[in-house]
């Protein structure tokens, strides 16, 4: 009798297991150290709750999502996207509208984490960094980044217009609060490009986020713009890279649901799990990106908090990335950047 009960129980387990095939979802991220932190904090533990996550990496190509939605063949269930793409994709009908009652109480989340189609996953920042072992005079302002007399050597910068134009204006004396106001004017854009022109011979461009800390470690550049989490990841491997926080541009990455996914229930289970303060705290312990659930901060110790872009000290003179500005002006400015690079 007992044996048959066990057999029955295991049989039913088998059935529930097979019934859960639809609880297997595909979550898309940008790879690297960030993907590992997400794996530890979200993908692996949620398996215990019956949702099996398959992680896929991409490079932010919205064309892939558009192709899936257009052909009604959606195989990605949750996708991490950068902030300008959330608004753009939402307008163009690529993403599902979110039901926050199934995710988290809106009041617990950062205001900028709550949008119609995307929920903020973490806060990251593009900052200035240098190698503490190699650079003797630490930079004290963004003007130093553009001053090759004071700190001689090459500068690493992201290939493209985004962030670099903001930094150029900061270096030119524009206050963080006014950066986007100035950049929106014709003269302001001119001014930013002019500032970059002066530095151009000393710029070494990076394409992938992982390249910037490599440049610093190898000594190819003395200063570099870099995603703060990459510095944290390098320091966990025993490097001594330092961040200059003021003037850093912080932004959120968002999770969106491509329109037409068949696994909405499991997707919401995943989002609900991942937005819980305790799980967000685990994430922040694994990579120095700020949690979007405010309650997670209380669960973090001082050391972890000190490295997050969201801590009071680090966020004090930071600049919030303007999604609205870049969604409107991005294409034109990137083209102008291409023209500028050719000259």
């Amino acid at each position: 009798m007992k044996k048959s009960l066990i057999a029955l129980a295991s049989l039913s387990v088998c059935f529930t297991m097979s019934a859960r095939a639809e609880d297997a979802i595909t979550v898309v991220n940008f790879g690297g150290a960030n993907a590992n932190a997400q794996k530890v904090a979200y993908y692996e533990p949620i398996a215990k709750e019956g949702v099996k996550v398959t992680a896929v990496e991409y490079n932010g190509e919205q064309a892939k999502i558009k192709a899936m939605v257009d052909t009604k063949n959606v195989t990605w269930d949750v996708v991490e996207v950068e902030s300008p793409d959330v608004a753009r994709g939402c307008d163009e009908g690529l993403f599902e509208k979110l039901d926050y009652s199934k995710i988290a109480p809106k009041a617990d989340l950062l205001p900028s984490a709550v949008t119609e189609c995307g929920v903020g996953v973490f806060v990251w920042s593009t900052v200035m960094a240098y190698n503490g072992d190699k650079l003797k005079t630490a930079p004290t302002s963004w003007a130093d980044f553009f001053d090759t007399k004071k700190i001689p050597g090459k500068r690493g910068m992201r290939k493209g217009a985004r962030y670099n134009l903001e930094f150029a204006l900061l270096a030119d004396g524009v206050k963080p609060a006014d950066v986007y106001k100035v950049l929106a004017t014709k003269d302001g854009a001119e001014r930013a490009f002019k500032k970059l022109t002066a530095l151009k011979p000393n710029i070494q461009w990076w394409e992938a986020g992982a390249q910037a800390p490599q440049f610093l470690v190898a000594g190819d550049v003395v200063l570099s713009t870099v995603y703060n989490g990459r510095i944290d990841a390098a320091n966990r491997e025993g490097r001594n890279l330092k961040i200059y926080w003021p003037g850093g541009i912080y932004d959120l990455d968002y999770w969106v649901i491509p329109k037409g996914t068949a696994k909405k229930e499991a997707v919401y289970k995943f989002l609900n799990f991942a937005m819980k303060p305790e799980n967000q705290a685990v994430y922040a312990q694994n990579i120095a990106y700020g949690p979007t659930n405010k309650k997670a901060l209380a669960k973090l110790d001082k050391k972890v908090l000190g490295d997050l872009p969201t801590s009071d000290k680090n966020a004090k003179e930071a600049l919030q990335f303007s999604t609205a500005f870049w969604a409107d002006q991005g294409e034109a400015l990137e083209k102008r950047f291409a023209a500028w690079a050719t000259q």
């Binding site: 753009r88 009908g93 493209g160 190819d220 990137e334 102008r336 023209a339």
Partner: protein, 413 residues
């Protein structure tokens, strides 16, 4: 004696029977090539036709704003548009079946007039806007004063047709002004001419370097006995079979400022500070030359194998200096190989993308980098297709020049 007609038919009948048999044979031969033709049609001709079509297609505005376009027709494109135009716009927006249609419209107009995205979406979100034409106009202006800027209305008026030359014009740094006259792009938006030039420049240098390296090597290989030549050929082919990404990563290891080459040169004292070999033009050219070298070696080798050694010997025995014999007898016979290899390497390098992206700086990117950017990041497929068409046209043109100069068909064997 009479001969039965069936045994010896008139000549006309024989001719017909022959040509029937001939045409049957021809058809049979043709049927054999059908699978290939279908394959070419599906994988090459249709995609290229679709690409060319997308480069001139412009459905977004006329589909979303039909009455606005009509209302704008009599407008002089300089003064403030009439209030009726505002009313038509709001009517059109409120008839859109889905947010996605507004999004597509906003994206299209934003590429013409930066800022139009938020303007259109703002108006769409503010719906319903009611009242007579003047009231509608006032409400739109209150919502966003940028509605008074005629730049946005010009963008709508200009794109009121199903087809547009704008993408193609932009790909050669031209544009139409508000009145539809052609003009050059403003200085700071003039990019693709320079990029196309750079693409050709890099490709040409890479082709020449490949030729310079491959010619002696292929010559040497062709003079070796079969077994040795095959062994060395494998050495040529192994990198050819390795993934491009792996080879690019290997070049980073070799060329970086603390890499093998720089440390070796520093150690033996040739240089006093590391050379900058990476993330600039040098790195791109070194790595591309390495990756494309087999495409030059193989056609050269196969042509050189078929050149009889007796000719050069004959020239020398008739009194020519060895070098002159090589230059005047041997080299001309290998020209088909040079042409084929050169064309192959050049055309492959024109489309190079990943190597310059990873090893080059901001001013080392080739045209395909921007095609990929417009496809993946900006999702502006019209512009991506126009740049693709430009690349296609440039390649065809070059091939035509090559045919004209070489007066021979492309021979790969």
């Amino acid at each position: 004696m009479s001969i039965p007609a069936s045994v010896n038919p008139p000549l006309g009948d024989l001719h017909a029977a022959l040509s029937r048999a001939e045409s049957r044979r021809k058809w049979r031969a043709f049927t054999l090539t059908v699978p290939l033709l279908v394959f070419l049609l599906l994988t090459l001709l249709i995609p290229i036709a679709a690409l060319l079509m997308r480069a001139v297609e412009n459905p977004e505005v006329i589909k979303a704003l039909p009455t606005t376009v009509k209302a704008l027709a009599p407008w002089d494109r300089q003064s403030q548009p009439a209030a009726a135009v505002y009313a038509a716009l709001v009517a059109d927006l409120s008839h859109l079946p889905d947010t996605a249609d507004a999004g597509a419209l906003a994206r299209r107009l934003n590429t013409e007039a930066p800022g139009a995205r938020s303007l259109i979406m703002g108006a769409y979100r503010a719906l319903p806007i009611e009242g007579d034409a003047e009231a509608v106009r006032q409400q739109l202006l209150d919502k966003d004063p940028r509605w008074a800027e005629i730049e946005f209305w010009q963008a709508i008026a200009k794109n009121g047709t199903r087809w547009t030359p704008d993408y193609l014009l932009a790909s050669v740094d031209l544009r139409r002004d508000a009145q539809g006259h052609m003009e050059r792009m403003p200085e700071e938006q003039r990019a693709y001419g320079g990029i196309l030039l750079r693409t050709f420049q890099i490709s040409l240098i890479v082709t020449l370097l490949c030729l310079l390296l491959a010619y002696p090597l292929a010559y040497w290989l062709s003079t070796l006995p079969e077994r040795k030549a095959n062994l060395l050929m494998i050495v040529v082919l192994v990198p050819f079979w390795t993934s491009i990404l792996v080879r690019v990563a290997a070049w980073i290891v070799l060329l970086q400022s603390e890499g093998l080459i720089n440390t070796a040169l520093l150690d033996i004292g040739v240089i006093s500070k590391p050379l900058e070999l990476l993330f600039n033009r040098t790195g791109v050219i070194i790595s591309m030359t390495h990756i494309l070298l087999p495409f030059m070696i193989l056609p050269l080798y196969s042509v050189m194998k078929s050149v009889p050694s007796t000719y050069v010997r004959a020239a020398v025995s008739l009194g020519s200096a060895p070098l002159a014999a090589f230059a005047r007898v041997y080299i001309p016979q290998t020209l088909p190989g040079v042409g084929a290899g050169g064309l192959l390497v050049f055309i492959l390098s024109i489309g190079y993308y990943i190597t310059p992206a990873l090893l080059g700086g901001a001013d080392d990117q080739m045209l395909s980098y921007y095609i990929a950017r417009y496809t993946n990041v900006e999702v502006n497929w019209g512009m991506a297709c126009a740049l693709g068409a430009l690349l296609l046209a440039a390649t065809m043109l070059l091939y035509g020049v090559y045919r004209r100069l070489g007066k021979t068909d492309l021979a790969l064997a």
